[in-house]
């Protein structure tokens, strides 16, 4: 049982080291620099937590400092995916405030939801950390839902890597939001299951990322074997251009 718990708790560290190697090999940092930085940070943070796990005081600081950084990176990655997938909307003016409005809504809802104190926690700091974590997960879930709705409605195809990142984060954030909400409601009695559920969801997310990034790169679309245009086609091309209404 102890071995199983150890594996469940720390499996993400070697898995993310493999993911980091895959990301470097496929040069994903060009398209998704924040996701690459997040994975690099996860390997460092996970190793630090593993090293300090028997030093209660040091572990406490390492845990909360890395947790805050995880929240920042998580937000940055989701924004990166959001921008990447929805580049096609940049011409539509009223679409621009959608992202800031989502953030505003999540901040307001988190503040309203965490107004009551959770039972069983000794310090105000832990309550604040829990509340901030809930806000972070809530924002990630809201962005995930928004992405899925927009992509489904507009028939956009997810670019392979963006889809993988979003699917992993979406699953992890949704499960963790539910678990953290229950922890906030039930209190310390739920701490063990909260830990198990959150870690299991995170491992599942890392496995999803590994699955997506270990696949072959998207093949280049095939072009016709003839040269693109003859003189006759160029003339027709020009005729079409003349018919284009001004923007």
């Amino acid at each position: 049982m102890a071995i199983l718990t150890f594996i469940l708790w720390w499996a993400a560290v070697p898995l993310q080291a493999i993911l980091l190697w895959l990301l470097s090999r496929k040069r994903v940092f060009r398209a998704f620099p924040w996701f690459f930085a997040y994975t690099l940070f996860s390997v460092i943070a996970g190793t630090s937590r593993l090293v300090f796990r028997y030093h209660a005081r040091s572990y406490y600081y390492v845990y909360y400092v890395t947790d805050a950084a995880y929240a920042f990176f998580g937000f940055a990655v989701m924004y990166e995916v959001f921008r990447h997938v929805l580049r096609s909307f940049q011409r539509i003016r009223w679409f621009r405030p959608v992202f800031p409005l989502t953030i505003l809504l999540t901040v307001v809802l988190t503040a309203m939801h965490t107004a009551n104190r959770p039972p069983g926690f000794r310090t105000r700091l832990v309550e604040w950390v829990l509340g901030a974590e809930m806000g972070e997960f809530f924002l990630q879930v809201a962005m995930f839902v928004l992405l899925v709705v927009l992509v489904t409605m507009f028939g956009l195809r997810w670019r392979q890597h963006a889809f993988g990142i979003c699917a992993g984060y979406g699953l992890y954030a949704t499960v963790s939001l539910l678990a953290t909400t229950k922890l906030y409601e039930i209190g310390t009695k739920f701490t063990f299951w909260w830990g198990i559920v959150s870690v299991a969801a995170y491992n599942a997310a890392v496995l999803i990322w590994l699955w997506y990034f270990s696949g072959p790169a998207t093949p280049e679309p095939p072009h016709g074997d003839q040269p693109p245009m003859s003189a006759e086609h160029l003339e027709r091309y020009r005729q079409i251009v003349r018919r284009v209404p001004p923007l």
Binding site: S88, V141, H233
Partner: protein
């Protein structure tokens, strides 16, 4: 209370989105190449759509017909425009899938054309979805039997959500044919016919 309800709605929406993503992974159309475009398009009679949105035709109908007759005819015209917009929406979705694939290629010129096509197709898709919602709302009100509200003008549908529908659709046809030619395909007449 409202915050708790909204909070639970977002969690539920998160789980539903996970199911949607899993469904998409299993059932999605494989990579749409240039060969999978023409046969999947539904021809749209743009001239017919233009005549439906023409304000002069509509005002002539209003003056020539009785109030009841006009309401009945307007309901039919709305159904016809709904059918045309549905086809426009479908075609835009097909072209977005194709453009997304081509935009991933390494050829800069093709990728640029594909990016233009993506943007124009998204505009058309947005116009179509908003128009379909608005049309269904008006059809739900049964204008022919309930005369409390004035019959809507179809001319109002020419621009929705900041997008001029038919102009965007014409631009979509042009952009699609550019990319089609760039891919070395000669049968772009078929493409234009089916759009």
């Amino acid at each position: 209370m409202i915050a708790i309800i909204l909070w639970n709605i977002v969690i539920t929406a998160g789980f539903i989105s996970c199911i949607v993503v899993a469904y998409w992974i299993w059932f999605h159309f494989p990579d749409r190449t240039v060969d999978d475009v023409v046969d999947f398009l539904l021809p749209v009679d743009v001239e017919k759509a233009e005549s439906l949105l023409n304000p002069h035709t509509e005002s002539a109908l209003r003056s020539d017909l009785t109030r009841a007759e006009f309401r009945k005819l307007q309901r039919k015209r709305m159904h016809l425009y709904l059918a045309l917009v549905r086809k426009m929406s479908h075609n835009a979705a097909v072209l977005i899938e194709w453009a997304n694939r081509e935009a991933e290629g390494s050829d800069n010129h093709t990728a640029q054309l594909a990016h233009d096509l993506q943007q124009t197709a998204v505009e058309v898709r947005l116009y179509s979805l908003l128009t379909l919602m608005k049309l269904r709302f008006w059809l739900l009100l049964r204008l022919d039997s309930w005369e409390m509200l004035p019959a809507p003008s179809l001319y109002d549908f020419h621009e929705i959500g900041g997008v001029r529908g038919l102009e965007s659709y014409e631009r979509l046809k042009t952009t699609a044919s550019f990319l089609f030619l760039e891919m070395g395909r000669r049968n772009f007449d078929e493409l234009l016919h089916n759009l």
